[in-house]
């Protein structure tokens, strides 16, 4: 039995206000965490904050963006009060456009075969290994997996990538786009990501009397006990802020007393 406050595995302290508390100290090092969310739920902001907090602690971080141009992303990151442009200049934060990476690897095609997938894994692992990345975000793994036509290949891709990154001690957030975050929804687009990932953080909206409240819920996290409650979130210049969602207000209108 561990004394209170001590953990069996070292943690990657996310630095996200409240999230480390939910995770009883942070994400176990080397984990691959799926951050699944509906549009506008704060996935990208969460991923960016994870990196900036890491850079703030002197860690090398990498972000692969497939959903928005890196130029925009680097512009948006400035909203964080704890961001310093030196983090980028000094190479602590490295943002890569997936389009550019595809182009460099000759992968400007609509679908990837096994060889392409391995090239992509090799490239990502190469980057992580060469610059000693300890925090990685891929935004989004859904966009990337759309190019991989077979479910088996998606599974192989995520499994191999996760395994190699874990070996390098890199904690990874794979951002996944989902269309619904309700009780019956899948936590990933292809259904395989959620099984491969060490952890799943779901982000979505609860509708309360016509208003959308953003929530975050840690559904699974291997290697640590954690809260599984829904937490309301706000995206602020100080980063993502969390508070437990009111129990009497945590379900959508259609499922609770409001709709009855």
């Amino acid at each position: 039995m561990q004394p209170a406050g001590q953990y069996s595995r070292d943690r990657c302290i996310t630095g996200v206000h409240g999230l480390d508390e939910i995770l009883r100290g942070g994400i176990p090092y080397g984990s691959t965490v799926l951050a699944s969310g509906t549009c506008g739920s704060g996935k990208t902001t969460l991923g960016m904050e994870f990196l900036v907090r890491g850079a703030d602690a002197g860690e090398a971080c990498a972000h692969f963006t497939a959903t928005e141009p890196s130029v925009k992303l680097l512009e948006n990151i400035r909203q964080f009060k704890f961001f310093d442009v030196k983090m980028v200049d000094s190479g602590l934060i490295n943002v890569f456009d997936m389009d550019v990476l595809y182009s460099w690897l000759g992968l400007e095609k609509s679908s990837f075969d096994l060889d392409d997938v391995h090239s992509l894994i090799k490239a990502i692992v190469d980057i992580v290994n060469t610059i000693g990345v300890t925090r990685l975000v891929i935004d989004s793994v859904t966009t990337l997996c759309y190019k991989i036509k077979s479910e088996q290949l998606i599974r192989d891709f995520l499994f191999t990538l996760g395994k190699k990154l874990a070996t390098l001690g890199c904690t990874t957030i794979l951002i996944a786009e989902i269309t619904s975050a309700t009780e019956n929804a899948h936590w990933s687009s292809f259904g395989v990501e959620e099984a491969i990932a060490d952890g799943i953080i779901v982000l979505g909206d609860v509708e309360r009397m016509g208003h959308l409240l953003r929530f975050l819920q840690v559904v699974k996290m291997r290697g640590t006990s954690h809260s599984r409650a829904k937490h309301a979130i706000e995206l602020t210049p100080l980063g993502v802020m969390l508070t437990p969602m009111l129990k009497w207000g945590a379900v959508s209108d259609t499922h609770n007393r409001w709709g009855a």
């Binding site: 141009p69 890196s70 130029v71 190479g91 490295n94 943002v95 890569f96 456009d97 389009d99 550019v100 990476l101 595809y102 182009s103 460099w104 690897l105 000759g106 992968l107 400007e108 090239s119 090799k122 490239a123 190469d126 980057i127 060469t130 610059i131």
Partner: protein
């Protein structure tokens, strides 16, 4: 009715109604040269001397700035070497599509396979992290070439050697449409266009279409006679002058380049 271009009287006098092939003996055989406004398609065989003929065709270069030589296979250096060898004018416009394609596309592919096999080096990663946009290398050479020829003014002279590059990469219907546009442009501006296309692997349908668009069809052939090669040029179509249809055997001399043999052989 097609629009009509008003030509300068002095130009009309200077350029005349026919232009030289760049091969004096060939001009003689064709009763003075090639009529202005003609588009010629040259169907070629490997080693038949068509590349040299193409260069020779632009050598008269009545107006250097209005003369364009487009090569899809040779590089600038090789073209300059040949032009120097025969003392042909070097101030014409030359575009080497093959060379451009190699540097834009093939070099990129080579680099991609290096990255895939050997991985990224630190400096590659740093450069990758600084690169925000994908270089647009998807060039539409067919449109570019068409526009370039269409931009030439009255009495221009243009050569495309050869059409194979486009037929291998584009929809053949687009390529044929391009030839048709060039033919119309040549006709309107009394230009001279020579387009070569290899007969190896050319579909009969495309060949037929190209031949029907062209005002003049040439075929460059090579055969062995004993231990010698014999190169010949067959004029199989000459619009409105069937008397010009001929088979001309030629050789290549260091002084004149392609030179038709005017002595008729007895088989």
């Amino acid at each position: 009715m097609a629009s009509e271009f008003k030509f300068d009287k002095e130009d009309e006098k200077f350029f005349g109604s026919v232009g030289s092939f760049g091969v004096p003996k060939f001009d003689n055989e064709m009763h003075g040269g090639v009529p202005r406004g003609f588009t010629m398609i040259a169907f070629t065989e490997t080693g038949s001397g068509s590349e040299l003929f193409a260069k020779q065709f632009v050598s008269p270069a009545e107006e250097a700035e209005n003369t364009l030589y487009i090569s899809t296979n040779e590089g600038q250096a090789e073209i300059v070497r040949i032009f120097n060898k025969y003392s042909w004018p070097l101030d014409i416009n030359v575009r080497t599509i093959g060379e451009e394609y190699n540097s834009n596309v093939l070099e990129k592919e080579l680099l991609a396979s290096r990255y895939r096999l050997e991985g990224f080096r630190l400096e590659d990663i740093q450069r990758l992290a600084q690169t925000r946009f994908v270089d647009d290398v998807t060039q539409d050479y067919l449109t570019e070439v068409t526009n370039e020829v269409m931009a030439l003014g009255p009495y221009f002279r243009a050569v495309i050697d050869s059409l194979d590059f486009f037929l291998q990469r584009e929809d053949p219907a687009r390529v044929v449409a391009m030839v048709r546009m060039l033919q119309a442009h040549a006709q309107l501006y009394r230009g001279l266009v020579l387009i070569s296309v290899s007969t190896d692997g050319l579909s009969p349908l495309i060949k037929q279409e190209l031949a029907s668009i062209a005002d003049m069809v040439l075929s460059f052939k090579v055969r062995t006679i004993g231990t010698d090669f014999e190169t010949s040029m067959i004029v199989s179509k000459f619009r409105n002058a069937p008397e010009n249809l001929k088979i001309l055997v030629f050789r290549v001399t260091p002084e004149e380049g392609i030179t038709p043999e005017t002595v008729e052989r007895i088989a």
